[in-house]
Assembly symmetry: C2
Homo-oligomer: 233 residues x 2
Amino acid sequence: MSKTPKAVLLLSGGLDSATILAIARDQGFAVTALSFHYGQRHDRELDAAEAIAADACERHVIVDLDLRAFGGSALTDDIDVPKGRSVDDIGDGIPITYVPARNTIFLSHALALAEVEGAETIFIGVNALDYSGYPDCRPEYIAAFETMANLATKSGVEDTGRVHLATPLIDMTKADIIRRGLELGVDYGETLSCYDPPLGDELAHCGACDACLLRKKGFSEAGVSDPTRYALY
Amino acid sequence: MSKTPKAVLLLSGGLDSATILAIARDQGFAVTALSFHYGQRHDRELDAAEAIAADACERHVIVDLDLRAFGGSALTDDIDVPKGRSVDDIGDGIPITYVPARNTIFLSHALALAEVEGAETIFIGVNALDYSGYPDCRPEYIAAFETMANLATKSGVEDTGRVHLATPLIDMTKADIIRRGLELGVDYGETLSCYDPPLGDELAHCGACDACLLRKKGFSEAGVSDPTRYALY
């Protein structure tokens, strides 16, 4: 009997990370989910992450970070999240919702946790097609992180397994991601994508921020209805 | 008049980081120091970092991390710090004081702060000669981090300056570092290197952990006396 492979998986509570969790489990991984309090505007995505992880993960680690100490993003500062722009403009330039070095900080923690747990695979739901223009979602970034990660850790100097970054969504459209998730039984009603969800309406989406626009476009192109509620438009 | 260049500098409060701060200032940088509470066994090195930063830095940012959530190191867990081994054995294998992915997590935060502050240089006091056998102190690791960093941030997609990791100590012996620091006026009495300093004796060193052994060897080879006190031996 072969040993169940272990993975650490970055779980934001959004549509993409819920889908990679289903993919990781379908591939036979025992998953430790990793989420962050990072001074985001709302904690509702962590509630979603907890609900998604509950029956699907061996362990769910939530780490406190204080990215507000640095500032520089609409997601962590008191800057308005842009709303209502054309979905075709998304990905054109780096938006104000970019959090400096966020994926690098998240992946660094995942790397530490993977080393402690003896996991050789780190899942991250980055996507280079229907993405928001963040530099740290591109394949060349992921490849460079993997190279660095294997020099950073014991695997770089001892004869242990190499660390691999698994990015199953990287070449998929949002519609492809939704179709694959539905095949695997993902309940997208549990997920929260919105950067700025309306107060007092659990798991409802604003419908107008970049993340909502990409989500709506994805469900529309996949030809299925989105189980969430949208507050606007 | 040219603009004063900005740097972010990882300041632990130890001998090496105090020296790179003096070097960065000598090179004309306006320095933002970055230190971490990371569940280390004692906070005395942060007291040392604050004393060292007080007059030498534009800003000193202290970030809370919870590396204890992961475990796996004598520096963050209730595991005894090894003491009294031969200094010649240091660097032979990865010691139990290794904290998984620590420098990667530290540098990731430095990268975020550098991006927010518009600093193009990150100083880190790693040293590949008189080092403790940590994989994330080697030049090939530093080079890989720099490559990744320039893909991770705005500099990777917009026409802004590249991020550079400055490692002025990387090829120096501990004795060289001490000599250079003394030339630049570093007060090594303010620094704390010890992994496990004796309780109730401010800034005194145990004298027997790997960090103390390397420090003592350095002062001995530099032919100068160490202004700190050692509790043992």
